[in-house]
Structure formats: C-alpha cells, structure tokens
C-alpha cells in the first residue's frame, strides 16, 4: 500500500477540506498519513520519512501558501527524500492572480502538481494514480 502525507501548512486551520482529502484518498486505497492543520514543512517531511511516503500533498486555504511552501523541495533533498512527489492546492496565493503564473512559480519551487481553487479532489486523484503508477 502506497503512503501519502497530507496536511494543512502554516498558520492555517481549515480542517474541512483536509478531512475530505483524507476520506477520498483512503477510500482509493492509499495509506494516508494526515498530520492535520497548523503543520510546518518539517512536520510533513518528518512524517514522510518515517512512513516512507511517496507523495506529500500540501493544502493551503488562507492565501499565504507561497511563503509557507518556499524552500520545501530543498528541505526534502537535504532530508534524503528529494525524489518525493510534492503537490499543493487550495487558495494558495492572495487575491485574484492569474493562475498560470502562480502555477509556474510553484513549479519552479519544485512542486510537481499545482491545483487552482475550487477543484475537486477527484481530479488530483487521477494525477496521483498516474504519478504513483496505480
């Protein structure tokens, strides 16, 4: 069973979407490690190391996702899990910015998949299946 770490990053306490993601991915047959809200980059990475996870799915709903996610790929590399898949989604930036630019910025930060606001987790699930080969 493949393991996925999920959680809400930074000073963000939006718990509802987090529970939906947990439910959906668990039902799809993944071992979900949900570290919950108010999680730091280190919390995600530590959980991924111990659980030998193949994917970290970061949620951010409060607009500060860009600041919270900076340097995460570098920390993964330092921690010996540089090849792990990094996904991010939610309301990851402040205001109504052009999403293609936002996506570009997050891809440059080392994220593999970047999702705009308001999409369903089922969309991400297809990507997960492709990326993890199931």
């Amino acid at each position: 069973m493949k393991s996925i770490v999920i959680g809400v990053i930074g000073a963000d306490v939006h718990a509802v979407g987090n529970k939906i993601i947990d439910y959906t991915l668990t039902n799809a047959g993944y071992n979900v490690i949900n570290i919950g809200v108010l999680s730091s980059q280190e919390d995600f990475i530590n959980a991924a190391i111990e659980a030998d996870a193949e994917l970290i799915l970061v949620s951010s709903l409060y607009g500060h996702g860009e600041i919270d996610c900076r340097g995460m790929r570098q920390k993964c590399i330092e921690s010996g899990i540089g090849d792990i898949f990094l996904y991010v989604g939610g309301n990851i930036v402040v205001g109504k910015q052009d999403f293609s630019e936002v996506k570009q910025r997050f891809l440059q930060m080392g994220f593999n998949r970047v999702y705009p606001p308001g999409i369903s987790i089922d969309m991400a699930l297809n990507d997960i299946k492709n990326d993890l080969g199931e």
């Binding site: 000073a11 306490v13 490690i33 108010l38 959980a47 190391i49 111990e50 659980a51 030998d52 409060y62």
Partner: protein, 460 residues
C-alpha cells in the same frame, strides 16, 4: 496480617522500609551505603542490623522485595529515525521503563556512535525507526551495524513491524541477544509504550542485575522486581488514580532532585481543553523525564551552563555569593552535606534552579497564533495547568527547611504564560522517602500502599 520489607538498592544508599499490614503503616526504616562494588549483601546486612536495632529485635518478614538503581542504574541507548518522531518515542519508552537514557541516536548509525555504546557501558539498546509499513531501510542498516559490532548486550527492536522477520534473521545470524516487540510508533505521532517497556523490565531482571552483581542479593531476599524509577512511577500512578474503593489524589506531579539528575513525573491527561490544536508525538498519561545535566552534585555544573553571564552576575549580586565557586565545590566534593545555614541556602537555590529548568523541559507549551480565522491556541507537550498536587522527594527537598520554596519553582514564577506549568497547586513532601517502597508494595497490596502514601505525604 503480614510484615513486608521493601528495599531500594540506590546508587549511594541501600534503603529499607518495613511495613506491617495489620498496623497499616511503616513501622521502621534504615539505610546504609550501597556496597555493590564489593558485595551488595554487606550493605544490605548492615542496614538490616540497624533496622533490627531500631525495632529492638530481629523481625521475620513474610515478603522481602527490592528495586534497584545501583551500579549506574539501567543505562540505555535510544535509537530511532527522525528526531521528533521515533527517536523521541524510543526515548520516552526507555524513560518510562525507569532507564537512564545515556545515548540518543537518529538516522543511520555510524561506527563512532556504535563505539560509544561500548565505551558508555550501555546495558540495553532500544532500536526503533519507521512507522508500520513505513521506512525500513534505515532500521535494517542500523540492526546490521549493531549486530556486527558484537556488543554483547540485549537489543530490543521496536520499529517498523514489516521488517520484524528480517531484523530477527540479522540478530540470529550474528548471535545477538535480540528481542522483537511492537513498534513504539506504529502510526505517525502515535506512541505505543507498553510491550517495549515490559520487555525492558524483563531484561533488566533477567540479565542486567545479574551482570551488575545485584542478583546475588536474591540469596538473601525474595526478589528484585523493578528498576527504582519505575517503582516510583508506579507509586505516582497509584496515588493519582486510586484503587477500587480507596480514592487517589487526582492528577499529580512528582519532583525528585538528586545528586546526578532531576526527575519529573506527571500523571495526567495531556490536555483537557477542546479549544486547542494539539501537535507532535502523543504524550503519555504517566510521563517521566530525567534531566541528566541538572543535579545537586555530579551534575551541578549543568546548572551553571544553563545560566547566562548576566544571570550569574545577578545571582552573585543578589545573594552575595560566588555561585560559580559554590557549584564547582559541590561538583568536586560530591558527598558534601550542608554544614551551616548559608551552605543550606545555596543548596536550596541550586535545587530551585534544577526544578525550574526541569519543569521548563517537562511541561508543554501553548502558542497563540493569529490566523485569518482569529486567534488559535496551539499546544505541544502536556498541559499541567490544572494539576493540584505537586509532591517533592529526594534528600535536598525532604530535608530542606523550606521545601515549599523549591517546589514553588514548578509553577509559573516568571510569568512565561506560554509554559503550561501547574497554576495553583498544593505542595507536599514525601517526608519518609517512601514512594519507591510503596511502588514495590503496590505490586501485591495496592490498597495498603495507597493508604500509607496518603498518610505520609506532608503538606508544606
């Protein structure tokens, strides 16, 4: 109607406590220097003679059982993968089993770390790493490193359950005294202490006390049953919970300031509030922490290290002493006992600093985070604010003329509101130094042990 003799083979003293079940109380106690270096029975027999003298005649006891922290106690190495997760879980298991955690390692072991296990004369290694189904490469590597080093000591494996068979094969191939227990962290942030703790206790009784020359005493007494700190932890738990119709005191904190370490025990739910967000590794209900750098004699220099230059100057100015000199004196002359009022006051000051700092590390922290959804309380560690009973034990507290001053340092005296220290507790002392003995007695007569403890706690 029975008479019990309860013994603690401590690092310095062998202490005897005699209990009469009909009387429902302790009827005599005695102590003598521990003689584990030559023959542990000598010190015991001397103490027993003294006990007979106090009573006036020799007594035949129905049961004689002991706990031990002699010959360095139970020295363990805790090994895990990530520091905040399996390393911390392994550490907590060792402490909960009454061990001293002399070495802590994370990630892949190197040869100098393995060498340290030999030079530090570790008694048992606890190897953890990986949640169930999680990382296994690291524990396999570490199991090989440890096995190839030919340590000659028991290794307990409490890591990822998926590779238990492979680990067992590694142990068997290298003829290691290896033992497999449940994962100490089966899921991320979930702590699982029980089976590992039982195994450590079993090994302590089967191998360690034998190797240290303590088992010899079993020709004189019935049995050594626990490491001393675990006996104290059991006493604390009984005192908090109560037993059957005999009520306990509710949640408690116990402080033990010794020559080499400062131990804190808290028996309480980690959090009772519904409006906080808890993070980090799960906290145990019965938690023990040991500060190896905070103590009255052997570790007195650790107190100095924890102070800044300004603080040292302020203490010297305020108290009119040279704190550095006083601490170094105590560190070089570890058997020093205060001879006058001023030496006693300095000892008290040192004890206060040990207690303050130890509680700073034991108690949880609360952060207030301002989020777009308003202010949120974010808790790590245990919330001790509601604790109503703080008990002091150990020579410096029990013998102090003002133990309350020392114990008050468990509370928030410097108003760091983010530290979740007991807010308005009542203070007690274990005046007859009987917590360890009641931990032993609770093995077969918990109600009697509880009654005696309640009788001998003195409010200060």
């Amino acid at each position: 109607m029975a008479k019990y003799l309860l013994i603690d083979f401590g690092s310095t003293f062998t202490k005897l406590t005699a209990v009469d079940s009909e009387l429902g109380d302790i009827f005599a106690s005695a102590n003598h220097f521990t003689t584990v270096d030559t023959d542990i029975t000598i010190g015991y027999k001397n103490a027993l003679d003294q006990l007979s003298k106090t009573i006036g005649h020799p007594v035949v006891f129905d049961r004689v059982i002991a706990c031990s922290s002699a010959a360095g106690g139970l020295k363990m190495a805790a090994i895990g993968l990530v520091e905040e997760l399996t390393v911390e879980a392994a550490k907590r298991v060792c402490l909960g089993a009454g061990a001293k955690v002399d070495l802590v390692f994370s990630h892949h072991l190197n040869s100098s770390e393995v060498e340290l296990i030999k030079t530090k004369k570790i008694d048992i290694v606890l190897l953890a790493g990986g949640s169930d189904g999680g990382n296994s490469e690291c524990v396999l590597f570490n199991a090989k490193m440890l096995s190839e080093a030919n340590l000659g000591i028991p290794i307990v494996y409490g890591g990822n359950k998926s590779v238990q068979d492979e680990i067992k094969a590694i142990f068997d191939n290298h003829h290691v005294n290896g033992h497999i227990v449940d994962n100490v962290m089966p899921k991320i942030n979930q702590l699982n202490i029980k089976q590992a703790r039982e195994k450590i206790r079993e090994l302590f009784l089967k191998n360690i006390i034998e190797a240290k020359g303590i088992k010899k005493i079993e020709s004189e007494i019935d049995k050594v049953v626990l490491p001393t700190p675990e006996a104290v932890l059991r006493a604390c738990e009984l005192l908090a919970k109560g037993y059957m119709h005999e009520p306990g005191l509710g949640e408690v904190v116990v402080v033990d300031v010794g020559g080499a370490t400062t131990d804190l025990y808290s028996i309480s739910e980690p959090s009772k509030r519904g409006d906080v967000i808890l993070t980090g590794l799960e906290e145990p209900y019965a938690k023990r922490t040991v500060e190896g750098d905070l103590g009255m004699r052997y570790s007195a220099t650790g107190i100095l290290k924890a102070l800044t230059k300004e603080e040292i100057m302020m203490i010297n100015l305020e108290k009119g002493i040279d704190i550095e000199k006083e601490i170094n004196d105590r560190n070089t002359n570890v058997s020093m006992l205060p001879k006058n009022r001023s030496e006693e006051l300095i000892d008290r000051l040192l004890a206060e600093m040990c207690v303050y700092k130890a509680m700073n590390r034991h108690a949880g922290k609360m952060e207030e985070i301002y989020t777009p959804m308003g202010m949120v309380h974010h808790q790590t560690g245990k919330d001790l604010t509601d604790i109503e009973v703080v008990i002091g034990t150990g020579g410096v507290i029990i013998k102090s003329t003002d133990p309350k001053q020392i114990l008050a340092k468990t509370t928030n005296v410097f108003r760091n509101d983010f530290e979740l220290r007991p807010r308005h507790p009542k203070f007690y002392i274990d005046s007859t130094y009987s917590l360890y003995a009641m931990g032993l007695l609770s093995e077969f007569d918990p109600v009697l042990a509880l009654k005696i403890m309640k009788k001998h706690l003195t409010q200060v």
